[in-house]
Symmetry: none
Subunit: 77 residues, 2 copies
DNA sequence: CTGTATTTGTTCGTATGTATT
DNA sequence: AAATACATACGAACAAATACA
């Protein structure tokens, strides 16, 4: 489940890959909300900064869009 | 400009001198905020730890005051 | 309309590991 | 061996935008 492991691959990269996989698998469709930072903290037992780094990476790739006070959403809606 | 160079003088000392110079020149007046650690990272292309070491030196000299969650400010406001 | 709660944004504090000098 | 420097990661406080009762 929360398959983030210690090792050579940074946790924030692992999380970014997991989220991307969920999107590419269609689990999260365009326009759908990404779980909040707090929810992801709980699900993966990671610090908020680590969560935010993963989300920032996906945002820079154009995979998601983030709005302050609202949340992040799968791009392409 | 105030460029950090590789050499015998540690980068954190070079940065501390640059910041002190800005303050003594009046570029940064008492009460003014010092650029954030993130901003200084970008400006000088240094790791955060190096930035913090420079700031810590100025703080110990009483040149600046730092508050968590807010930032560092030129002392003497 | 008025607060309160949620959510993202930004900042500093601390610790660990690795590599280089 | 020791100091320097980078990257990663967790924690905490402060701030602002949005949502909601």
């Amino acid at each position: 489940m929360g398959q983030i492991t210690d090792g050579p691959v940074p946790k924030y990269r692992q999380l970014a890959e997991i989220l991307r996989a969920r999107i590419e698998a269609g689990e999260l469709a365009p326009g759908d909300p990404i779980p909040s930072e707090t929810a992801l903290e709980a699900e993966f037992d990671l610090a908020r900064g680590t969560i935010r780094k993963a989300i920032a990476a996906l945002r820079e790739e154009g995979v998601i869009v983030t709005t302050r006070g609202k949340g992040s959403y799968v791009a392409g809606a």
